[in-house]
């Protein structure tokens, strides 16, 4: 029995992903031969990372649901914080996981997904609170945080609230086509040929021209918002 994710229709056009899964009634199911989203199965799953690198965010939702109650219990025993803070930290951790996989910085798991997510979420909470309860035992997450410098980069720096609002407003004014192209190129780090194949552009030149126009428009919007 596989783990099921509901995917939007347009994801069904992705041919590479379809080799790893089979579809029925808009439900994407990991085939029994593929690792499952269990407590341990996901940890070695290159397919999960590949799904995320292709932007299949429904996989994220399953990760988010699967470990969320456990994270709340675990973090609640360690840090004095409210549920909204834990929710924020958990969402940030899940997004960081997605971002790392999407940008191909995370190509294999040194830890299982749970450890990775808990470590990042925990760092986020520590960064906010810096007030921990007495911890009488250490677990694999403490070990990962101490040993691996990769977790030191979380949480990353974010632009200020005003700049964030300006950047988001600029993106909202872009066409859907431009937003998709920019997402594929600058978030999912796809190459020009990959995007050409995905969106059926006649040539890489045609795609490059479209991408250049989108970039130019976005930069104009940045300047407009900044009042330059």
């Amino acid at each position: 029995m596989g783990v099921r994710f509901t995917l939007p229709d347009h994801y069904y056009a992705t041919t590479r992903w379809s080799k790893a899964v089979y579809y029925s009634n808009n439900i994407l199911t990991f085939s029994p031969n593929y690792p499952k989203l269990g407590n341990t199965g996901l940890t070695d799953s290159a397919e999960i990372l590949r799904a995320l690198s292709e932007g299949h965010t429904q996989v994220l939702q399953s990760l988010y649901e699967q470990h969320r109650p456990d994270f709340f219990r675990w973090a609640g025993r360690r840090i004095e914080c409210g549920r909204p803070e834990m929710e924020d930290a958990w969402q940030e951790a899940v997004f960081a996981f997605y971002e790392q996989a999407a940008s191909r910085k995370l190509t294999a798991f040194r830890y299982n997904a749970r450890t990775w997510l808990f470590a990042v979420g925990y760092r986020k909470l520590l960064n906010q609170r810096r007030k921990t309860k007495w911890i009488f035992w250490k677990d694999e997450i403490d070990d990962a945080l101490v040993r691996d410098p990769v977790f030191q980069q979380f949480p990353g720096e974010e632009p200020g609230a005003e700049e964030q609002a300006s950047l988001l407003a600029s993106m909202e004014e872009m066409s859907t086509q431009c937003r998709n192209l920019l997402r594929q190129r600058f978030f999912l780090e796809k190459s020009i040929p990959e995007i050409q194949q995905l969106y059926d552009y006649q040539s890489t030149n045609a795609l490059s021209v479209s991408l250049s126009r989108c970039l130019k428009r976005l930069k104009e919007l940045f300047r407009e918002k900044a009042g330059i």
Partner: protein
């Protein structure tokens, strides 16, 4: 901006620069304002794209989180209701056990105060006196079919409300001058006067044949019931009903039901009352039905 510069900037954002390329980039940033602006613009593009993706993903996760919380709350609420229901049920069971489950006290309660001069009952048909076996019938079974509705207090209250020692003209003693009455007459006189313990003592003075007479036994059973010895009374009533030779069989049936009620044998009491309430011949039909309703 040349394509070479674009590639340098892109490799910079991918952390893919060599040491030499890194040095070249730093040199360009320091010396070339156009390059610096392009680098900054590219940074903003990436930030904008990332922020939009993040916003979409987090909104979706937050929505899912709210759904999960709502479901958890609902499940938690149901669990609380089940727990509360279970607790209430437990309390009800404990209360019931407190009232009915405790072993009955071995000490007999004092008999209820009874009036002894009421003779409004129907005159039964003439009897056919004859000797019968002594009342050594099987003992009345211990209460095994107790119904949960009848607590001891309730049973006593219902018994007191319905039980009156049976009296009619046939039982009224006749005056015979100054001579001491014969034992049977004295026995009936004591019963008539409501002196039940004395009547019971007098019963032992009766001739053997009289002590085996179902009518005399009926009076003895009435005395026993009036003095709270319901078990013994029930045994005699059962014998009278089994023999079916007394003129007091209807009264014996009614008082047998009351004796069962008093001893807490609710199953038999209910069964006996049902039979009386269905019997058109019984003068206690309505009383039995009313008592049955009270018990249920």
């Amino acid at each position: 901006m040349e394509e070479q510069d674009q590639e340098l900037i892109e490799r910079y954002f991918r952390n893919a620069l060599s040491a030499a390329e890194q040095a070249e980039l730093e040199r360009r940033v320091a010396s070339d304002a156009g390059f610096r602006l392009e680098l900054e613009a590219q940074r903003k593009v990436r930030q904008a794209v990332r922020l939009r993706e993040k916003k979409e993903v987090l909104e979706r996760l937050a929505q899912r989180g709210r759904e999960l919380d709502a479901r958890e709350k609902q499940n938690g609420g149901k669990r609380r209701w089940w727990l509360a229901g279970g607790l209430i049920l437990l309390l009800v069971l404990l209360a019931w056990w407190q009232w009915n489950g405790k072993p009955a006290a071995t000490k007999q309660e004092p008999p209820p105060v009874l009036s002894g001069q009421d003779s409004t009952q129907r005159i039964p048909p003439p009897d056919t006196p004859r000797t019968t076996a002594p009342p050594d019938a099987p003992a009345v079974k211990k209460p095994e079919n107790q119904l949960p509705v009848a607590s001891r207090d309730t049973r006593e209250r219902l018994f007191a409300a319905h039980f009156k020692p049976y009296k009619d003209e046939s039982l009224e003693p006749s005056l015979r001058g100054d001579d001491p009455p014969p034992p049977p007459e004295k026995f009936r006189q004591l019963y008539w006067d409501g002196q039940y313990p004395e009547a019971l003592s007098q019963f032992e003075n009766l001739p053997a044949a009289a002590r085996e007479n179902d009518n005399e036994l009926f009076i003895k059973a009435e005395c026993l019931l009036a003095t709270g010895r319901a078990d013994e009374a029930a045994r005699i009533f059962e014998l009278i009903l089994k023999n079916d030779r007394s003129r007091y069989t209807d009264a014996a049936a009614w008082h047998l039901a009351l004796a069962y009620l008093k001893t807490g044998d609710m199953g038999r009491a209910k069964s006996r009352l049902q039979r009386i309430s269905r019997s058109n011949a019984s003068p206690w039909r309505a009383d039995a039905a009313a008592l049955l309703t009270s018990i249920q």
